[in-house]
């Protein structure tokens, strides 16, 4: 079962009298264990697509399946539960909850899943150790550097073993070195634990680390390349 299936998805925004077609018929399948980047110029629809996959927003048309679950017709509560169970998020602006320590931020997701306290603590302790951020367990977000916050954000995103982790420009606020280190960490998690990552970026250095790159132009998939090859079957639209 694929981690993500996007079928003929459209997203339209009403901007005054005109309708913006942010996504114009996107179809995409992401298998478990992929390490995929979404590229494309500004306004091409990267964020829109990630928001739809993450069930933060609903499509104007088309279907979305996350880990085999069709999002159509779900209530807000069901969508929340789906995000809790199947999706992890890493945001550009880190977005750690400032009143929770690093460990508590990661624990928060597990608490939502009603995992007992002791099990939560153990799991987060191990995870932080593995990610090399064990010394940050009791640190407050406000006291951490951007790179540290984003590592904690990754830990939070994968803590509950989601089917897919979505990261919209995770390195945009980081310097080159820190950004590369973050992508390396994500890549290692992908390799060693099979965590599925979909991230968007403008940075060619980051793109170079992706195993698959889907390029959006004007809300359509312009290319879909795996390790440099174009994958047949992707909806290739002519570059305008």
């Amino acid at each position: 079962m694929p981690a993500v299936e996007v079928v003929e998805v459209e997203k339209h925004y009403q901007a005054g009298a005109t309708t913006v077609r942010a996504l114009a018929g996107v179809s995409l399948t992401v298998e478990k264990g992929e390490f995929m980047a979404i590229a494309g110029p500004s306004g091409s629809g990267k964020t829109t697509l990630l928001n739809l996959i993450g069930a933060l927003d609903t499509p104007s048309a088309g279907a979305l399946r996350i880990d085999g679950v069709d999002l159509a017709g779900m209530s807000r509560k069901q969508l929340a539960d789906l995000r809790r169970d199947k999706v992890g998020f890493v945001f550009q602006a880190y977005n750690l909850i400032p009143v929770l320590t690093a460990a508590e931020n990661a624990e928060y997701v597990l608490e939502l899943k009603h995992m007992p306290r002791a099990a939560r603590r153990t799991r987060i302790g191990q995870l932080f150790a593995e990610l090399g951020i064990g010394e940050l367990l009791d640190a407050w977000p406000g006291k951490m550097s951007g790179g540290q916050q984003q590592r904690v954000a990754v830990a939070r995103a994968i803590a509950s073993m989601p089917a897919v982790v979505l990261a919209d420009e995770p390195t945009a606020n980081l310097d080159q070195v820190t950004g590369k280190a973050l992508i390396d960490m994500m890549h290692r998690l992908n390799h060693e634990h099979g965590v599925t990552f979909i991230f968007s970026t403008h940075d060619p250095m980051v793109l170079a680390q992706a195993e698959r790159v889907v390029r959006l132009v004007d809300g359509k998939i312009a290319s879909d390349e795996r390790r440099g090859e174009t994958v047949a079957g992707a909806v290739a639209a002519p570059v305008a």
Binding site: D57, K77, R83, F91, I97, P98, V99
Partner: protein
Amino acid sequence: MIGTLTIAWRNLWRTRRRTVISMSAIGLGLALVVIYGGLVSRLMGDAKEQLDTTGLGHFEVTAAGWRQHRSGKLTIADLDAKLQDLPVPASAEVSVRVLSRGLLAGARGNEAVEVHGVDWQRERAVALYLREIRQGAVPADDDAHGILVGEQLAERLKLQVGHKLRLTVQRADGEMGAALFRVRGVFHTLSPGIGQRRVLISRAAAAELLGVGGSAHQIVVQIDRAADASRWAGEARAKLGPTVEVLTYADIYPIFEAMESLVNGAILVGSIFVYFLVGLGILNTMLMSVLERTREFGVMQALGTRPGGVLRMVLAESFWIATLSVALGLGIGLSFTWLGSRSALLDFSEQMGEGIEFGGTVMRAAFLTEFSVRAALLPALYVYLMALLVALYPAWRVSRMRPVDALRAG
């Protein structure tokens, strides 16, 4: 523990100054309601319960029409039988009076007076001033010539214990009657009017002087709680028949009830005003903190917090503000009412004299407060309800935002 209440508590202290300010404002509002309530309920309570400051009693039995005509002829028929039949609680105090207007003549002048012929022991229980003799003493039971006068009257007529006085009255048969009395004591009263006009002699002496035989004009009954007055008066009315008139203190002085509803109305309006301000304070605080943190609520939703969870998070914050405010408000309010129940917080004695006369009773000008934790709990509960109620709006607003919109905010 990173439950909703913990997160809400921590969020409260991110904007420490705002929290402290709104908590203080709400707390002081509550304290004000508690103190005001304590002051007024003590005041109204004293006014109603302590009718012995004037000897009014909670209800009285007189011959029908006596209140209207004040005629010495209108005595209670079959007084002893009526006293036997009078339904009163066991703890009630009952005093029988022979009443008349009269003229008191001393060596230094004359004064118009109202004469109370009483049984000393019984009267003591219903008239505070008989317990506050400042010179001399209450006359002995068989003292047919002893008279008590108030401080003000003694002052005017330059009376001392032992001085001789002539009391002239109109007898029940219409003739003039007069007798000589000797001052046995001078009483103190909160009421300058009573101090100046009221004189007390024994019931036997009064009956003799007025020629009313064994009868009397008034039976005064004082019970434990003013609230029960109309019930007992009603029973007395039914039992004693139409030859007598039974009137409660409130019948005699309707201003009591009027004053009470006025005061209750004022409390209600004042409280509504305070709660309104409390509500505005909490609404403002919550709206500000929710709007500032919209994106955080978006993050929580992205992590899988349900809309209901977001709603609870905001309500939890409001709950904490209410809790802190209530703690502060009760702390201040109860401290003041406790202190005020011991010694007066408001004392107008300097300006208004020891007592303030009001509708047949006299209140002390040094206002005490009633200390009652129970009475303070209701306003505290209202603060909680208000906090929850007004927080519902910001809570509902942010919880129904789509996560994508919430994340874009701020």
